[in-house]
């Protein structure tokens, strides 16, 4: 691998890692509060790309308007999924909640097939994002710069909300101890809704940028990125936002680098993330930045 191609792969890895990180945040926030894998999160991410597509090509909205619409709709969808699929099961065994989550995921995915059709659609990319720039002889698509920057901005805002605002404090309290938080006068239901909303917003930002980088839309695109982002969240230590970001970057980078340096294992690309997941689960289930919690009797 020459140094030029190395930098190309590096920028690709950085972009993919950012996208995984943005989706992983949603998983990790929800898990932190409800101890639940939100299986429908990948599907919520998928919906955001379709909303942009329909906004631009059917309703002729300006590009930036349809992005805002997509982010709002996706955030609402996250809240609706929580209300419909998870809230009725708040006090049920975890397996029931998980089955409901899988049901919700399949429901959204198949509704998307019904409404949007199974045929691939092409994500509308403004010309500006199609340009490739040359840095020291390395040609890099401009989205590869754009994605990490936006991700960073979104992250800073999110961490500000969680660390500095009252709502953020309430979220942290609920994730630490559900019952006590309720006794302290925190409206747990509202906080859970806000968490789902924020997580889905992040997924929507990721979704829009995913479309810019991989413009081929099918209703199944949420599946693999969703699972991989979940794996990223586990690698970083689930429940920990910084961990999710770290895991996302690690996973995106290693995935791109392994394929780049060993072209004959390209077919095993999807297996790689799962092998990493199982390795982490066996040897360090709490993840890189997570805390070890003992078994409670």
């Amino acid at each position: 691998m020459s140094i030029n191609t190395f930098f190309q792969h590096l920028s690709n890895g950085l972009a993919l890692g950012s996208l995984y990180a943005l989706i992983a945040i949603g998983y990790t926030m929800v898990y932190g509060i409800l101890r639940l894998i939100n299986f429908a999160h990948g599907e919520i991410f998928m919906i955001s790309t379709y909303v942009v597509f329909y906004g631009v090509s059917i309703f002729y909205l300006p590009w930036w308007v349809s992005i805002i619409v997509a982010i709002v709709i996706t955030g609402l969808l996250g809240i609706i999924v929580e209300r419909a699929a998870y809230r009725p099961l708040r006090n049920s065994p975890r397996i029931s909640v998980m089955i409901s989550a899988i049901g919700a995921s399949f429901l959204i995915q198949n509704l998307a097939i019904v409404i949007f059709g199974g045929r691939p659609k092409s994500f509308p990319i403004p010309d500006y994002f199609n340009t490739v720039i040359q840095v020291q002889g390395v040609s890099v698509p401009i989205v590869n710069f754009f994605i990490p920057v936006i991700t960073l901005v979104a992250l800073v805002i999110l961490i500000y909300i969680i660390e500095k605002t009252k709502t953020g404090m309430a979220m942290r309290a609920v994730s630490r101890d559900y019952e006590t938080a309720r006794l302290m006068g925190i409206s747990v239901d509202n906080i859970v809704s806000i968490t789902f909303g924020l997580g889905s917003l992040m997924a929507a930002i990721g979704g829009v940028m995913w479309g810019l980088k991989y413009p081929n839309l099918i209703p199944l695109i949420g599946l693999m990125p969703g699972l991989k982002a979940f794996i990223a969240a586990v690698i970083g230590g689930i429940g920990n936002i910084k961990g999710a970001v770290l895991g996302g970057f690690l996973l995106g980078m290693t995935e791109i680098m392994i394929i780049a340096s060993l072209p004959n294992v390209t077919g095993y690309r999807d297996a790689f993330a799962f092998i990493l997941l199982i390795g982490i689960l066996i040897y360090k289930p709490s993840g890189l930045l997570g805390q070890d919690i003992g078994e409670k009797v």
Partner: protein, 347 residues
């Protein structure tokens, strides 16, 4: 003295066999295919029920074990000529090229290999709980699928295997299904089954009572994957074609749906819901195609069928968590009670 219940049981089985034979001789090709599918889904549902229902572990890796069974048995029943015509991209590995054994031994072999691999996969991840175990098993089943897609000389890769001889008949599917049902009932009555259910109720308490968690969970996984492998083999020889895409998460979803609708942990519930779901899955196929009402046709919408099924799954899990049967069973005693009540009403 011969137990009266055993005679009734035997009578019931003979009755089912008689009904099946009649159906097998009178129904058309398509209906027989659905009958076969129902038998296969009974086996699959029961196999997932051992892991998810009896033991309370949450496995999402069923499609992977089915794939192992399907591929193993297919590669073993294929003739040399069938292998040559399938493996045109890359020739099949030499040690498999000239092997051909009968259908039943091949099925058994597929089941055993699935069980061995299932045990090997489960062993390192059994200490995980709930959702972590689910996601790890899902991961393994995806890994199996990716491996099968890429081992061209062993599985023919993404092209899959076509033109398998359709050995699967109603005798095989329902014969094995009945054996599976009997096995499940006796497993649950045995000390092993009781240990599994103790783990489901309270893992810590079960461990304190001296139940070896690892050994019993491994047992559940091994049994589950064995029957999943058998089911996969039957499915392969019913379809005549297999490819790695068949064994996606969707297949696990279908089996999970059966177990949840029937009542997680109930054998008779799983059996009933396997039959109902299979028939519904086929019958509702019209939703995806063109609906002909005679005077007008409505263009069906692809995906609508699965929308209905995922809605059904969510509605059941939210409003009637116990499914059809909860953990109850239809036994000879309960049937007797039912008829007794019926007779009283008439009198």
């Amino acid at each position: 003295m011969i137990d009266k219940k055993n005679i009734i049981r035997l009578g019931l089985i003979l009755l089912v066999l008689a009904v099946l034979t009649i159906l097998n001789n009178t129904m058309g090709k398509y209906e027989i295919r659905i009958l076969n599918l129902a038998g296969i889904y009974i086996i699959l549902g029961l196999s997932l029920n051992v892991i998810n229902g009896f033991t309370g572990l949450f496995s999402l890796g069923h499609a992977g074990f089915m794939a192992i069974g399907a591929y193993t048995s297919s590669l073993l029943t294929m003739s040399v000529i069938q292998k040559e015509s399938n493996f045109f991209v890359e020739p099949i590995v030499p040690w498999l090229a000239n092997v051909q054994i009968g259908f039943l031994p091949a099925l058994l072999f597929g089941g055993i290999l699935a069980a061995v691999l299932g045990a090997m996969i489960a062993a390192p991840i059994l200490k995980l709980t709930d959702d972590y175990l689910a996601i790890a098993t899902l991961g393994f089943s995806e890994i199996i699928r990716v491996i099968f897609t890429n081992t061209q000389s062993l599985t023919n890769g993404a092209l899959g295997i076509k033109g398998l001889t359709r050995y699967t008949t109603v005798h095989y599917t329902w014969g094995i299904a009945i054996l599976t049902i009997l096995f499940m009932f006796s497993l649950r009555k045995s000390s092993y089954g009781k240990a599994l259910m103790a783990i489901r109720e309270d893992q810590t308490a079960a461990e304190a009572m001296g139940i070896n968690l690892f050994k019993h969970k491994l047992l559940a996984f091994t049994i589950g994957s064995f029957f999943a492998g058998i089911g996969g083999g039957l499915l392969a020889h019913l379809m005549g074609t297999i490819d790695p895409l068949m064994f996606r998460f969707l297949l696990t979803f279908n089996v999970l749906l059966i177990v949840v609708l029937g009542g997680i942990g109930s054998i008779s519930g799983t059996v009933i819901s396997a039959i109902v779901v299979t028939i519904m899955l086929e019958w509702l196929r019209f939703l995806d195609g063109v609906i002909d009402l005679g005077f007008m046709t409505i263009q069906g919408i692809p995906g609508l069928r699965m929308v209905l099924f995922s809605l059904l799954l969510m509605v059941v899990i939210i409003f009637k968590q116990n499914g059809l049967m909860g953990r109850d069973e239809i036994t000879i005693d309960s049937l007797g009670g039912f008829f007794a009540r019926f007779r009283k009403k008439e009198a």
